[in-house]
């Protein structure tokens, strides 16, 4: 009898022991676990430096290139002639990359008394340029420049006003959003009456190398432009002009997927945001305007530095998720899927096999984007086309790291123009293809909404 009891105790004890071990394995040792947002380029850092981690597995030479790019990303440009970082302007938006992408994170709209710093405005008139892109505004080009070097005229100022928009959840609780209105004032010359204005917050720059490594085919295969599957979500890819190859390629970077590569994205930002020329964009952004200095001088950023800056962004890792297995977070994840957020914010992607760039090759990553354009409704529309993206369409932004924005960037302004003052407002602004998700969100109970937000904060 005693032996039988002893055996029973040992048996139950063994079961408990193995069960406990199995649970631990499932949570912590699972390969490609969802909390490893950037695959093997995931970093466990929730501090101020959380967005600034160099990829694992780089060669010594690559690490050096990354460091050079890092320093160049912080370099402050000044008016030429100068011994260091010369060539700013003549017209510009900011003086350094990190001036907009603070701590490699996202920018914000100015609050009262602040200058426009990490937000800019693209402008164009109806029609298209010779490459099918936005049609520049005579006298202003494709981007509005509120700053200029000494002796040159800035293009003007932007006045930002907000109007409250009220709404109500199904449970009766009320909310207030704010809708922005922009006015160009003090413009140095006449603006056409049909000018189109598109506000853009500086997006985060970490993890971009992994997004660049997703194959074109994977992105294009998800497109469903005519909504053949009838789920109310279409999604189309942008096709944009590649300056270096003089060809058309899939667009994947920028708020409307208007850039095909990080190199062109970087060169474009140097050119338009800071007035810095390069081998990709050798002409000053002021070309054709009275601010143009007429100097056919050397490229103001060298080929090697431009490549290093692009490489820096290609090799910035992604923060790991926090509390991914918290019960409320898991419930929020279920709701995220149930109300179809995941139809556009696609959780999982796999990077292509790339033997030339092994550190980002064949990684299962969790960016929460499909990199496709979606109609987001009239509330968010900028009514300004960019290649194939129309005035209602925006590219799904990645959500990884979004829960660390408050700590690392000190704010929670979201969406392309920073109108949303927190994640909840960002959801409530979703319209167009996401209108049904918005309705479902508003029909959730308070605890369900909290769970969904907690899930987003865990990303």
């Amino acid at each position: 009898m005693i032996k039988q009891k002893l055996f029973a105790i040992l048996f139950i004890g063994s079961l408990l022991f193995f069960y406990a071990c199995r649970k631990a394995d499932e949570v912590y040792i699972e390969k490609d676990a969802e909390w490893l947002s950037g695959g093997k380029q995931t970093f466990f850092d929730v501090t101020n430096s959380g967005f600034d981690h160099i990829f694992n597995g780089l060669t010594e030479r690559e690490e050096e290139n990354h460091e050079i790019g890092d320093a160049a990303f912080d370099a402050v440009f000044v008016t030429a002639p100068a011994p260091l970082n010369a060539g700013l302007g003549p017209i510009y938006n900011n003086v350094s990359c990190s001036g907009c992408h603070v701590n490699d994170g996202r920018g914000k709209p100015p609050v009262a008394g602040e200058k426009l710093s990490s937000m800019l405005f693209r402008i164009s008139i109806p029609g298209a340029n010779p490459h099918g892109g936005p049609n520049p505004v005579p006298g202003f080009g494709g981007q509005f420049h509120p700053r200029a070097i000494a002796g040159k005229l800035a293009e003007g100022d932007i006045d930002i006003q907000y109007m409250a928009v009220f709404g109500q959840y199904a449970d009766g609780s009320k909310y207030a959003l704010r809708q922005p209105f922009y006015t160009i004032k003090n413009n140095y010359t006449t603006l056409p009456s049909n000018v189109m204005l598109s506000p853009r917050i500086a997006p985060q720059v970490f993890g971009l190398g992994l997004l660049e490594a997703i194959s074109d085919a994977d992105i294009m295969n998800r497109a469903d432009e005519n909504d053949k599957d009838g789920d109310g979500i279409s999604g189309k890819y942008n096709v944009v002009y590649d300056v270096l190859t003089n060809s058309y390629r899939l667009g994947r970077f920028g708020w409307k997927a208007g850039q095909p590569s990080l190199l062109q994205q970087s060169a474009g930002a140097y050119n338009e945001d800071m007035g810095i020329t390069s081998f990709v964009f050798p002409l000053e952004s002021s070309f054709g305007q009275p601010q143009y200095d007429g100097l056919n001088d050397e490229y103001e950023v060298s080929d090697s530095i431009l490549h290093a800056v692009a490489f820096y962004m290609q090799t910035l890792g992604v923060p790991a998720r926090r509390n991914a297995y918290d019960a409320e977070v898991l419930n929020g994840k279920k709701i995220f899927n149930a109300i179809q957020c995941a139809a556009c914010h696609v959780p999982e992607q796999r990077t292509k096999v790339d033997v030339t760039f092994p550190s980002r090759s064949n990684q299962k990553i969790f960016p929460y984007t499909d990199l496709l354009l979606h109609n987001m409704g009239s509330g968010l529309a900028d009514n300004r086309p960019e290649f194939l993206a129309d005035g209602y369409e925006w590219r799904t932004p990645a959500l990884w790291g979004i829960g660390l924005t408050k700590k690392i960037n000190g704010h929670e302004y979201f969406l392309h123009d920073g109108r949303a003052r927190n994640l909840e407002e960002a959801i409530l602004w979703h319209g167009g293809e996401a209108e049904n998700s918005n309705i479902k969100f508003r029909n959730l109970s308070l605890s369900e909404r909290k769970a969904l937000l907690k899930f987003l904060e865990s990303l």
Binding site: D45, V46, S49, P83, L84, V95, S98, N103, G151
Partner: protein, 355 residues
């Protein structure tokens, strides 16, 4: 008699057993993590930013007085104020997180290089130097370095007779802006202001940003690592590798080496939660609870880094050409300290602070 020995044997056995058990029992290590966060917030962040605001206020007051009646003594006073303010700021750079980073205070008060062409243009213009105007200026036109340039001149050769009215007006406006920004930084931490003090010191205990103590401790350690990296591989390394003295910060006051030394001293202060007036519970005490030799290694490597900086005996812009071995040794010693913090201190924190 037999049963007596049996009893005695059993008693001795029990005593031996209990004693053995007692010996095996380890004293629980007292949890000092909360005290460290409070003392760090008090003695490092709040103290530094309070002192910085006071020093900036003094600098502004003395520049204002100098602008009204320039004298040799007045200029020397302002130059001394600049160095004193700069020293506090550089030490505080070992704790570069929170509002100083998220509110972009750092770039607004400490950006290099200066846009000299623009500066000349501004000084020649008739624009009114009010605070709205200064706040709209680029970072390359305000903060420590334009003030330094105007106060010291190239080669630290500025004479009090060389100031024109526009320079004086601009100096007053710039120093007022520095005072305003450092004051707002102090207010951001103050419990009666933005109260980042409580946000940080209540980590893992209701903090809205730091949900675990571990996150706050990692923040402290990462900031220490970050400034070592910045000094070794940025402030010194970039200038030295390219032999380009135009990249040198604080060249006008010939203050670069002092800047570096204050940066690295800030690391030790942060490690110890210590300032010139108070010495609280710090990471030092936490490390000593678990790994005495690591505490010794950190202090030894810190001392080596300071010694290596002290071995550079001429202004940094000249030393990159004339004392390359000493400069390289300083880079190596600071990187050595950085590696110790990164590879041993951070893992120790992560091992012993779970939540």
């Amino acid at each position: 008699m037999k049963s007596f020995f049996k009893f005695l044997f059993m008693a001795l056995f029990l005593v031996a057993l209990l004693t053995a058990c007692k010996q095996k029992t380890t004293e629980p290590i007292p949890d000092i993590t909360q005290a460290i966060l409070i003392d760090y917030s008090t003695n490092i962040s709040l103290y530094s930013y309070t002192e910085l605001a006071l020093a900036s206020d003094q600098l502004h007051t003395d520049i204002l007085a100098f602008s009204m009646a320039p004298t040799k003594a007045g200029l020397e006073k302002c130059q001394g104020d600049w160095k004193a303010t700069r020293a506090i700021w550089e030490q505080s750079e070992a704790s570069l997180f929170g509002p100083v980073s998220t509110n972009s205070i750092d770039p607004r008060i400490d950006t290099w290089p200066i846009d000299f062409n623009r500066l000349d243009s501004i000084l020649k213009s008739n624009v009114v130097f009010n605070q709205i105007y200064i706040e709209q200026l680029e970072e390359s036109l305000r903060g420590f370095h334009p003030i330094e340039y105007l106060l010291f001149g190239r080669g630290a050769s500025k004479q009090y007779t060389q100031f024109n009215p526009r320079q004086l007006e601009f100096l007053v406006a710039l120093s007022e802006n520095l005072k305003t920004l450092t004051s707002s930084l102090k207010s951001d931490w103050d419990i009666n202001g933005g109260n980042f003090y409580t946000v940080f010191s209540s980590a893992g205990n209701g903090s809205s940003l730091y949900t675990t103590k571990k996150a706050a401790f990692e923040e402290i350690a990462n900031a220490m690592v970050g400034i070592c990296d910045e000094v070794a591989n940025g402030k010194i390394g970039e200038v030295f590798i390219t032999l380009d003295s135009t990249k040198e910060e604080s060249p006008f006051a010939k203050n670069s080496l002092t800047d570096f030394t204050n940066n690295i001293n800030g690391v030790l202060y942060a490690y110890q939660s210590k300032n010139t007036k108070a010495d609280g519970k710090g990471l030092e005490d936490f490390v000593r609870q678990y790994n005495l030799s690591l505490d010794g290694a950190i202090k030894h490597k810190h001392a080596s880094a300071i010694a290596a900086l002290n071995n550079i005996t001429m202004p940094f812009g000249e030393a990159i050409h004339l004392q390359p071995i000493q400069v390289q040794n300083a880079i190596d010693a600071i990187n050595d300290l950085k590696n110790e913090l990164e590879t041993n201190l951070l893992p120790l924190i992560q091992l012993h602070i779970k939540s």
